[in-house]
C-alpha cells in the first residue's frame, strides 16, 4: 500500500510532504508539515522471546545518552512466546510527547513484521532485516545478521548487530556502549554484544544525518516508574497490590526500592485484601497506596466506600486496560472514567486525577497522596497501559519539599477530649494515629457519631453526610483546571483527558500548520470533581468542540454535558486497544473538515 513521500530542507526548515492512503479511512490525505523539527520513528518487531524488548531498551538508552530525546511504546501480545510484538521508537532533537504511526524505518526480526507494517513506511524509509527474507522492496537493507550472530557464537547477539547497523544508518556514532550494555546485559554477554554492535555498525551504510544534540541531563522513564517514584517522594510507607497488567510494574519498581526507601511492599491474596490492607495501614498512620487495573478495581469498590465513610486517606491507582472482564489485557483504553467516579454504593466525596504524561505521573501521584491525607478521602489516579509502559525523556523532577509531614499539633492532643469525627466548619476532622496519644482512634463503616460509634440517629446521619460533603466543597477550590494548548484565537476546540495528552498536543501543532482552520485543546488532568471554569471560558470562543477519547461511548463528553450542559459537536473515539496517534487525530479531523 505505500504512498509518496518527500523530505527536503527549505531555508533551514525541514519540510515533510507525503501523500499516502490511509487504509482505515480509505481517504486521500495530504500532509504538509513545516517546522524545524527532526524526529525519526522506527519500529522494531518480531515474536515474543526474541529479545526485542531488550534491544529496544538498549537502543533507547544509547540514543538518550547521545543527547537525543526519545519516546518509545511497546505493543505486546498477551503471551510469553510467539505472536507479533513490536516497539515504536521516536527520537530526535526536540521534546517528543507521543508515538507516531508513520515510519522512517522498520527493523524486522521476522517476516510478519514487514508484512504487517510496510504500509506505514515512508517512501524513502528503510527496512532493516536479515538476508534470509526474500521480500521485494526497494527500501530493504538486508544484512547477513543471522550468520554473523552465529559466527559470534550467540544467535541472540542479532539484536546488537541490528542496533549497530541502525546507528550507522542514522549517521550516529557508536558511543556509550560499555555503560549501556553493562547496565542491561549480564557481564558474560557484554563483550560479545559489543563486538556484535560494532560489526553491525561496520556492515551498514549511512542514510541520514542527524545534527548533534546534547540533552544528556534528561530523565528517561516509563509512566509506571514515574508514578511509583512520585509515591516514594511523597513518603509512601506501604504498598499492597495483586499483580495485574498493566499495573504490576508499579509494584515491581516499588519493591526494587523498598529496602532503601523503607517501604513495605506486600503482594495481597486478592484485590479486596489489597485495598483493605492499604486502608488498615493508612488508619494506623502509614502513607499507603494500592494499584490495579479495571478488573481489580471492580473488586475494590466496596472498600472505596469504606475509605469514604470512615474518612481514611487512600490512593488507588487504576492503570486502565480495555474491558469488560478480561478484555485486552496488554492493551490500552480510557473506559473506566465513569466507573471510577461512581464506583461503590452510597455517596461520599472522592477525587479522580487522570495522569496525562510522564511529568504528571510523578507530581500528581505525590499530590494525590498529600490531598487524600489532607481531606481524608479516597483519591483515584487514572493511568492507562499506553502511559504506563511508554518511555519518554523529560526534564528532571524537582525534589525539594517532598514527603508528607505529620501534623505535630494534633499529636499533642490532651487525653480524653478527642473526637475522631468532630463536626468542623470545613468538614475535616482531626486525624490522630492510634497508639501515639492517650486518645482512642476509631473507624467505622457504619454511620457513626463524632466518637466514631455506630448510630442510626437521623440528625447525626445528616450532620455526618453534610460534614463529609463540606470537605468536597473545599476540595473543589483546589482542583486544577485542564491544560490549554494552542493559540488564543481558534475555531475548533479539542477536548481530551489523561494519556491522549501527547497525541492531542502534537496534533494541534500539526493542524495549525495548515489552512483547515485554527485549533486549540483542553486536556483534563483533574477530572472529578470536574473543573468547569476554563472549560466554560474556552468553549465560549469555539465554533466547534471535538471530544477525543480512547473509549466507545465518549465518557468525558457525557461528564461535561452532565456537569455543565455543554454538548460536544463530535467525538473521535477509539477502542481497539491501540493508542490514538497524532497522525490519526489529524487525519480524522481533516477528513471531517473536507467532508
Amino acid at each position: 500500500m505505500g504512498g509518496i513521500c518527500r523530505i527536503r530542507f527549505e531555508g533551514g526548515l525541514l519540510t515533510y510532504q507525503s501523500r499516502e492512503i490511509d487504509k482505515s479511512l480509505r481517504y486521500l490525505i495530504f500532509i504538509n508539515y513545516k517546522g524545524g523539527i527532526i524526529i525519526y520513528n522506527v519500529l522494531i518487531g518480531g515474536t515474543a522471546g526474541q529479545g526485542i524488548e531488550t534491544m529496544a531498551t538498549i537502543l533507547q538508552k544509547l540514543l538518550k545518552d547521545s543527547g537525543y530525546h526519545v519516546f518509545a511504546v511497546r505493543d505486546v501480545m498477551s503471551r510469553v512466546r510467539g505472536g507479533h510484538n513490536f516497539t515504536l521508537l521516536r527520537f530526535g532533537i526536540e521534546a517528543i510527547q507521543s508515538h507516531s504511526d508513520i515510519l522512517d524505518g522498520i527493523i524486522a526480526f521476522d517476516e510478519d513484521t514487514i508484512k504487517l507494517h510496510v504500509a506505514q513506511l515512508k517512501q524513502d524509509g528503510f527496512i532493516l532485516c536479515d538476508t534470509q527474507w526474500k521480500i521485494e522492496d526497494s527500501r530493504i537493507i538486508s544484512l547477513e545478521m543471522v550468520s554473523l550472530a552465529k559466527q559470534l557464537g550467540n544467535i541472540r547477539t542479532i539484536g546488537s548487530i541490528a542496533i549497530g547497523a541502525l546507528l550507522k544508518i542514522f549517521g550516529l556514532k557508536p558511543l556509550h556502549m560499555d555503560e549501556v550494555l553493562g547496565k542491561y546485559l549480564k557481564e558474560q554477554y557484554k563483550e560479545v554484544n559489543k563486538k556484535a554492535l560494532l560489526q553491525g555498525y561496520d556492515m551498514a551504510v549511512s542514510k541520514y544525518e542527524i545534527p548533534e544534540h546534547n540533552d544528556r541531563d534528561l530523565l528517561m522513564i516509563s509512566g509506571n516508574q514515574a508514578l511509583a517514584f512520585g509515591a516514594i517522594a511523597a513518603g509512601l510507607k506501604f504498598y499492597c497490590a495483586y499483580p495485574m497488567s498493566p499495573s504490576t510494574s508499579i509494584m515491581e519498581f516499588l519493591a526494587s526500592k523498598s529496602d532503601k526507601a523503607g517501604i513495605v511492599v506486600e503482594q495481597a491474596e486478592d484485590e479486596i485484601a489489597a485495598i483493605n490492607m492499604a486502608i488498615g495501614a493508612s488508619f494506623a498512620g502509614a502513607v499507603a497506596m494500592t494499584g490495579t487495573s479495571g478488573g481489580g478495581f471492580c473488586l475494590m469498590v466496596e472498600a472505596l466506600g469504606l475509605s469514604g465513610i470512615a474518612e481514611i486517606p487512600l490512593v488507588v491507582v487504576d492503570v486502565q486496560r480495555p474491558g469488560p472482564a478480561t478484555g485486552l489485557p496488554t492493551r490500552t483504553e480510557q473506559s473506566d472514567l465513569k466507573f471510577v467516579i461512581s464506583a461503590s454504593h452510597g455517596e461520599f466525596p472522592r477525587m479522580v486525577i487522570a495522569i496525562r504524561n510522564h511529568k504528571d505521573a510523578f507530581y500528581q501521584t505525590m499530590r494525590a497522596l498529600k490531598l487524600s491525607k489532607k481531606y481524608q478521602i479516597p483519591i483515584i489516579l487514572l493511568s492507562d497501559q499506553y502511559l504506563a509502559d511508554s518511555v519518554a525523556t523529560i526534564e528532571p523532577y524537582d525534589l525539594t519539599d517532598m514527603a508528607i509531614q505529620e501534623d505535630n499539633e494534633l499529636l499533642d492532643s490532651k487525653e480524653g477530649n478527642y473526637l475522631r469525627y468532630r463536626i468542623t466548619q470545613d468538614g475535616i476532622s482531626p486525624l490522630l494515629i492510634p497508639g501515639k496519644t492517650k486518645n482512642f482512634v476509631t473507624a467505622d463503616s457504619d454511620e457513626h457519631d463524632e466518637r466514631g460509634w455506630i448510630t442510626e440517629d437521623a440528625e447525626v446521619r445528616n450532620a455526618m453526610m453534610n460534614k463529609r460533603f463540606r470537605k468536597w466543597d473545599k476540595l473543589k477550590n483546589e482542583v486544577q483546571e485542564p491544560e490549554f494548548v494552542g493559540e488564543d484565537s481558534y475555531d475548533t476546540l479539542l477536548l481530551g483527558w489523561g494519556s491522549t495528552y501527547g497525541p492531542i498536543v502534537e496534533s494541534v501543532n500539526i493542524l495549525n500548520q495548515d489552512s483547515y482552520g485554527k485549533y486549540a485543546a483542553l486536556i483534563f488532568g483533574d477530572i472529578y470533581p470536574l473543573p468547569e471554569k476554563l472549560l466554560k471560558e474556552k468553549v465560549s470562543n469555539a465554533k466547534k468542540i471535538i471530544n477525543i477519547e480512547q473509549n466507545a461511548t465518549g465518557q468525558l463528553a457525557d461528564l461535561i454535558r452532565e456537569r455543565t450542559g455543554i454538548v460536544c459537536t463530535s467525538n473521535i473515539l477509539k477502542y481497539d486497544g491501540r493508542q490514538i496517534s497524532k497522525d490519526e487525530i489529524v487525519n480524522r479531523i481533516r477528513k471531517e473538515v473536507l467532508e
Binding site: R216, D217, L218, L219, M220, Q225, I232, G235, K237, F238, K257, S258, D259, K260, A261, G262, I263, V264, E266, A268, E269, D270, I272, A273, A274, N276, M277, I279, G280, A281, S282, F283, A284, G285, A286, A288, E302, A303, L306, A310, P396, Y397, L399, M402, A403, I433, P434, G435, K438, N439, F440, V441, T442, A443, D444, S445, D446, G452, W453, I454
Partner: protein, 281 residues
C-alpha cells in the same frame, strides 16, 4: 493492672458474646495492656461489633475484611496489640481467602472467632460451620453442606497457634486469650458460643455436655496429634491449645521491619530520591 471499660451492647440477652467481651477485658487487664496501644478490629456481624463496646482503639471495617485491615495496621505500627473479633461468617465465609493467606503471612495478631454455627445478624441462616441438617428459612430441607473445620484447616495451613474455647468456660477462655495475645505470630482461637435467638441445635447445654479441657498429658507441639485432636467434634469437643509452634513472624522476616522500629516512624533519607533519579539520567 490496666483498667479497661466496656460499654452497653446491642446483643440479645443470654448471648455468648457477653462472656467473650468480659473475658477479653479481663485478659487485657491481666496482661496489663495499655488500652491506648490496643487496636480492636472487626468486620461485620454481631461479634464484629465488639470493638465498639470496649475502651480501646477500634476499626470496624467491611464484612469479611477484618483480617486484611488488622494485619496491615500491625505492619504499619508493631507497637499496637492488634486483636480481631469477628464471627465465623466474617472469618471463614466472606473472608475465607484472607483466613487462608494470613496464616501464611503470620503477622503477629490475635484472631478471636465467635463461632455460634449460625448467622445471627441476618437472623438465622446457615454459616460455614453449621451442622448438616440444620433447618433454617433458607436451608428449608436442612443444611446440605458439610461444616468447615476451622481448627483443622488452620493447623493444616500452617498456623502456629490454634486453639478452641467455649464462651461458657470463662476461666479457661481468659487463659487461652492471654496465651493467644502473648503468642508471637498469628494466633487463632475458635470460640464456641450459643446463639440463643436462632441456633436451637448448638445450645449452651449442647456445648456444655460435649466440651472438655485438654490437660497436661496432651502435647500441643505434636502436629500429627493436633490434626487428630482437631477432628474431634462429635460427642466430645476438646478445648485448649490444639497446636502451638514457634514460627518466624512477618515482621521478623521483613528486612525493613525486623529492626523493631515501627514502619510509621521510619523516615527516608532524601538522598534516596537523588539516587533513584540518577538511575534514569
Amino acid at each position: 493492672m490496666s483498667k479497661i471499660t466496656t460499654y452497653e451492647t446491642a446483643w440479645c440477652p443470654g448471648c455468648g458474646n457477653f462472656n467473650i467481651l468480659d473475658c477479653l477485658k479481663t485478659a487485657l487487664e491481666e496482661l496489663n495492656k495499655d488500652p491506648y496501644e490496643v487496636l480492636m478490629v472487626g468486620g461485620i456481624g454481631q461479634a464484629a461489633k465488639l470493638p465498639q463496646y470496649i475502651s480501646t482503639n477500634s476499626f470496624c471495617g467491611l464484612h469479611g475484611r477484618a483480617l486484611p485491615a488488622a494485619v496491615a495496621a500491625k505492619i504499619a505500627n508493631e507497637k499496637l496489640t492488634v486483636i480481631v473479633n469477628s464471627g465465623e461468617g466474617d472469618s471463614y465465609g466472606e473472608g475465607g481467602n484472607h483466613f487462608l493467606h494470613n496464616i501464611r503471612r503470620n503477622v503477629d495478631i490475635t484472631h478471636f472467632v465467635h463461632d455460634n454455627q449460625i448467622y445471627g445478624l441476618t437472623k438465622g441462616q446457615a454459616s460455614p460451620t453449621s451442622m448438616v441438617g440444620m433447618i433454617t428459612e433458607v436451608q428449608i430441607h436442612g443444611n446440605a453442606n458439610i461444616p468447615l473445620n476451622p481448627v483443622l484447616l488452620a493447623i493444616a495451613g500452617g498456623a502456629g497457634f490454634v486453639a478452641r474455647a467455649f464462651s461458657g468456660r470463662q476461666e479457661h477462655l481468659i487463659n487461652i486469650m492471654k496465651q493467644a495475645i502473648e503468642y508471637e505470630g498469628y494466633a487463632i482461637v475458635d470460640i464456641l458460643q450459643p446463639c440463643v435467638s436462632f441456633n436451637k441445635l448448638n445450645t449452651f447445654s449442647f456445648y456444655s455436655q460435649r466440651v472438655y479441657e485438654l490437660d497436661s498429658s496432651y502435647d500441643c507441639t505434636d502436629k500429627t496429634a493436633a490434626l487428630l485432636k482437631a477432628m474431634e467434634f462429635e460427642d466430645k469437643i476438646p478445648l485448649g491449645i490444639l497446636y502451638k509452634e514457634n514460627k518466624s513472624t512477618f515482621h521478623q522476616k521483613n528486612i525493613i521491619l525486623k529492626s523493631g522500629m515501627p514502619l510509621i516512624d521510619l523516615q527516608y533519607d532524601p538522598v534516596i530520591l537523588d539516587t533513584i533519579m540518577n538511575e534514569f539520567i
